[in-house]
């Protein structure tokens, strides 16, 4: 029997989050079961019910966690830059700190 994955959105400004899965003989029944299992107490304003087979799963480690160094893509790099700028500015003259970095 096909498996369906269910995503739920709880409020207008919210996002869809994966909540779980279910088994159903048809898409029509999957929709019913999704409501009963994942919005039984009116938690959802939107559900996505997706046949599991429609999902492209990616778990390849080398693809997702490439072995080569990529620290230039990490956010920390920018923090270092911010700290360096602050140091430079402090060296150049006092009083204006924070104006640009805030």
């Amino acid at each position: 029997m096909p498996i369906y994955e269910v995503f739920r959105q709880e409020e207008e400004a919210g996002y869809l989050r994966h909540e779980g899965s279910l088994e159903a003989p048809s898409a029509e029944l999957a929709v019913h079961y999704a409501r009963e299992l994942y919005s039984r107490r009116s938690e959802a304003i939107r559900l996505w019910v997706v046949p599991r087979e429609a999902i492209i799963e990616v778990t390849d480690h080398d693809f997702l966690q490439p072995p080569l160094e990529r620290t230039h893509r990490m956010g920390e790099g920018y923090r270092v830059t911010v700290a360096k700028r602050r140091q430079l500015r402090q060296g150049a003259g006092a009083g204006k700190e924070g104006q640009h970095d805030a």
Binding site: E23, A24, S26, E28, L29, Y33, E36
Partner: protein, 275 residues
């Protein structure tokens, strides 16, 4: 409202409520034993909805008569319940603590009865949406919006039983053969429906829902090459099976003996108790 109109309305509301309560209780027996856990939750939830609709109708009847809805639901004499008889039949195994269980699991029967009842119930509700009795029209509009989803669930199962395998289809056909007289028994008038119709409280008498029901059911039958026990001759339908009637005047069978005993058991322990 004159006393005879009030009496007819009260009887009609009880009939409606009893149908919903009885199918709700019977279907609730599937909790824990439906074919899949997902369906278990879904079917039990539909059963709860029906009990909720029953409560709404008992409350309307209670407002008319100044009685308590719980008394109407659980403390009337056994012959003062007016549901269609097929609804009281058990479709699950009767559990016996000593191990002498009886009956068998008849999922196709439960789901088929449910779907064909919902088709009927939808037509009946449509005849109440514009009722001149405002509280009834308001309540039934809410019920109607929930019942749409019941029908949708039933349609999905109808298709599954009719097409998924030879065995499923056999189960469906066997269930239909057994259920027909009882299904046709839905269309028995409650006493006083002619009065209610002339007052504009109901748009159609229950007996007059048979033709539109057959028209609506026909598409579900022909779609999957299933046969109806009725033929259209010109504009009229000729039904070839004798309906099982009597429910609307309080005549019931063994299924009711058992269900009445069970559903009133706790309430009778402490009739005036607060729960």
């Amino acid at each position: 409202m004159t006393p005879d109109v009030q009496e007819a309305l009260c009887r009609y509301l009880l009939t409606l409520a009893d149908d919903e309560l009885v199918i709700g209780l019977r279907d609730a027996e599937w909790t824990g034993i439906a074919p899949m856990v997902e369906e278990d939750v879904a079917f039990s939830s539909l059963a709860q909805d029906e009990i909720g609709h029953a409560r709404l109708c008992y409350t309307l009847a209670a407002e008319l008569t100044g009685r308590d809805p719980d008394h109407l639901a659980y403390l009337r004499p056994k012959a003062a319940y007016y549901h269609a008889r097929v609804l009281e039949e058990r479709a699950t195994i009767m559990y016996d603590p000593e191990g002498k269980h009886s009956g068998k699991v008849q999922w196709a029967k439960a789901i088929t009865r449910r779907f064909l009842y919902d088709l009927f119930d939808n037509l009946r509700l449509e005849a109440l949406l514009a009722s001149s009795y405002e509280p009834l029209a308001n309540a039934m509009r809410k019920v109607y919006s929930e019942e749409r989803y019941h029908l949708w669930h039933g349609e999905a199962w109808w298709k599954t039983l009719a097409t998924s395998s030879t065995i499923a289809r056999e189960h469906l056909e066997t269930a239909l053969t057994a259920l027909w007289p009882g299904i046709l028994g839905f269309f028995e008038d409650a006493p006083g429906e002619d009065t209610l119709q002339s007052e504009g409280i109901i748009a159609a008498r229950t007996a007059h829902l048979l033709t539109p029901w057959l028209e609506r059911a026909q598409s579900y039958f022909t779609q999957y090459q299933l046969s109806l026990p009725a033929q259209k001759v010109g504009e009229n339908w000729q039904v070839t099976i004798e309906p099982l009637t009597g429910g609307r005047v309080g005549q019931h069978g063994a299924g009711w003996d058992e269900l009445y005993e069970e559903m009133t058991m706790v309430r009778r322990l402490e009739p005036e108790g607060t729960w």
